[in-house]
Amino acid sequence: MNNVAIELRGITKCFGSVVANSNVNLKVYKGEILSLLGENGSGKTTLMNMISGIYHPDQGHILVNGKEVVINSPHDAFEYKIGMIHQHFKLVDLFSAAENVVLGLDGEGRFKLDEIEKQVLEISNKYGFNIDPKKKIYDMSVSEKQTVEIIKVLYRGADILILDEPTAVLTPQETQKLFDILRRMRADGKAIIIITHKLHEVLELSDKVAVLRRGEYIGTVNTAEATEESLTEMMVGKKVELNINRPEPVNPTERLRVMNIDCKNRDGVKLLDNVSFSVNAGEILGIAGIAGSGQRELLEAIAGLQKLDSGSIIYNNPKTGAEEELRDKSPLQIRELGVRLSFVPEDRLGMGLVGNMGVVDNMMLRSYRRGKSIFLERKGPTELANRIIQELEVVTPSAETPVRRLSGGNVQKVLLGREISSSPTLLMAAYPVRGLDINSSYLIYDLLNEQKKKGVAVIFVGEDLDVLIDLCDKILVIGGGCVSDVIDARSTTKNEIGYLMTNTKKGRRASDE
């Protein structure tokens, strides 16, 4: 009997000119847990979305139980008994667990909710969940919501389960419970694919590990033959020499001190957990971590956009020598304190710039308040826009063309150019080279280095470990909202950072238990 549950052959997927997956081959057997491992942007989620009917592959074949299939929609995926548990839950908040479970299913017109609730409890008992089918989603914790998602696909009779970073939002205890459940499902003959970054989880749970790197399929190994070191190397690859210029810091003095800050989301999950560090003038502090580990909240907290539950953020004003507390201040108040803070957010067109406005109008975002007149002063911003277009070689038809029409690199030049133009003393940049080509990326590195030489304290949140190692002076590794460590960029290795990223204190605590 053929025991292959699902097989991918030569899958390739491009978004425009970006290759998300290239020639990926994958085989998952029944009664097996396969971990899909890879860094951010390595194409794991895109691959799984093709199996669950959200995207179509450009090339290649998908085989379910040995037969080639075309999966056009999530509905088709259900028919092939494929169930995906997304990282962002797809649940209707207003509905109860049972209602969410039967959502979208065919069947008799009238349904008896109590019978469905009974069936949900049956599944629940079979695999050891603990769930109240009558409970509304909006009253549930994250882990309960995830349970509902899993029951949903089981109820639909899924034999192939895909979980996209299921443990990212769970506490260590909840993670252990989930693993027990997954093991029970494996014993029940289900094929399970779990997307994750966390090496210790991979080793603990799975039978096989498939590794993707930048969209390329690297290979599959048996977990029994793998170690954290071997997997890290497969995942991050060999060190690539980038030849990024790194000037030595001159006379570093402390510019910003973050002490024990905490913040929670609406569900009470800690996004930042007792984070402390400091940034020096004339240095670049890199921040490394899996996406969504608290980087965004950290930068927004400093910029006055994120409310904190505790802790303190102290800014040393180089002009006056005064120490200013930034916590609980609005961006405007921070400005009025004389703090020259520049912030290049991750969401360039949704936050840093207004996509429908031209370069000139986008320059005014920071400066429009200047002066007493009730009218906008356009001369200064126009000059600035033209200067940035010229100096940074921004390719645009005109300074009035909406910036959303520019390419990613040019958008970033506009944003970074504006933020630098206000001669900041503290510059924060989140993923400033994401989606940029090599030349634009180097231009951005040069700009950051220039600021560093001017004595600006620079915070650089990045995802490419090679870049972090070559560009930064220090690297802060963050995981699950906690600081794993702050290391010296000149003496560290990719494997060390990869290890710190994927073995957070939280995670280690869990596996020690």
């Binding site: 999530p74 209707v92 207003l94 509905f95 959502l103 299913l105 017109g109």
Partner: protein, 334 residues
Amino acid sequence: MFTLEYLMGFVATAIINGTPLLFGAVGEILTEKSGNLNLGIPGIMYIGGISGIIGGFLYEHACETAGITPIPILCIIVALLASLLGSTLIALVYSFLTITLKANQNVVGLALTTLGVGLGDFYGGSLLSFFGKDGSIYLEATSKAFKEKIPFLSDSLGLFGQTFFSFGFLVYVAVIIAVIVHFFLKKTRVGLNLRAVGENPATADAAGINVNLYKYLATCIGGAIAGLGGLYFVMDYSVGGWTNGGFGDRGWLAIAIVIFALWRPNTAILSSYIFGGLYVASSYIMGLSGSEKEIIKMLPYIVTIIVLVFVSARKKREHQPPASLGLSYFREER
């Protein structure tokens, strides 16, 4: 002064005035549950009314020409089908523009209301002239068929029977439809799916629900139901006649009831009668001056606003408008 007869008379009038509102409100609830805020409902109700008139008129005219007496049941069938056809077509236009072409729902709705009211008044004024006649429309046979009382119950149960079983059949149809829609939304799979579409179309999509199909069907069926409100108004309330602007602001009142009833069809039944009662209460309260009567007529809107504000302040999840109301859904396919 306030005898039982008087009170019952008021209740009956409240029900008569509430019935067009009930049709409109239930139709709009069904539509809004799919995430479509159809501000074209007043126009659709106009169209429902005038289409019924046109259908009825053509049938009566044909009978007249042929020299036969119109058959009551055929009167009803023809007017009903014409009404349903007209209002469904307009709702289909709304659906096509907002769902397929993703146009702004408010603008399309308002434009359809303008269009619907215009078409209604056009035909209301000109229908007779197409047949070389003067005067205003009066559909005697059709109206009589629509106003037929329930034979036995209306005169055997005394005052109670006179009050509650003397209406034309559409009054009961309105209640039945409201109950069916309530049952449909609460107890059926399709109803559950529809609510999911209005709450979170992306989730519904991921669950394999055809979001656009649901939106189309809910909007068109909702439009057809609302159109019946117009039909009831012209055939029963206005005794088969048409007055320009006679329908007034009832369409907007129906939208107000949707809010007042917190998007529940069963609550809409009583709410419609209360609003219908408020609409005429001023004539039933003795000793009010003309201006004071206008203040009473303002009450339905004031009450609706208070409910809207109160509900948004309390933030109880079950009482909110469908979460995706007013937004078009677009899943980018690559």
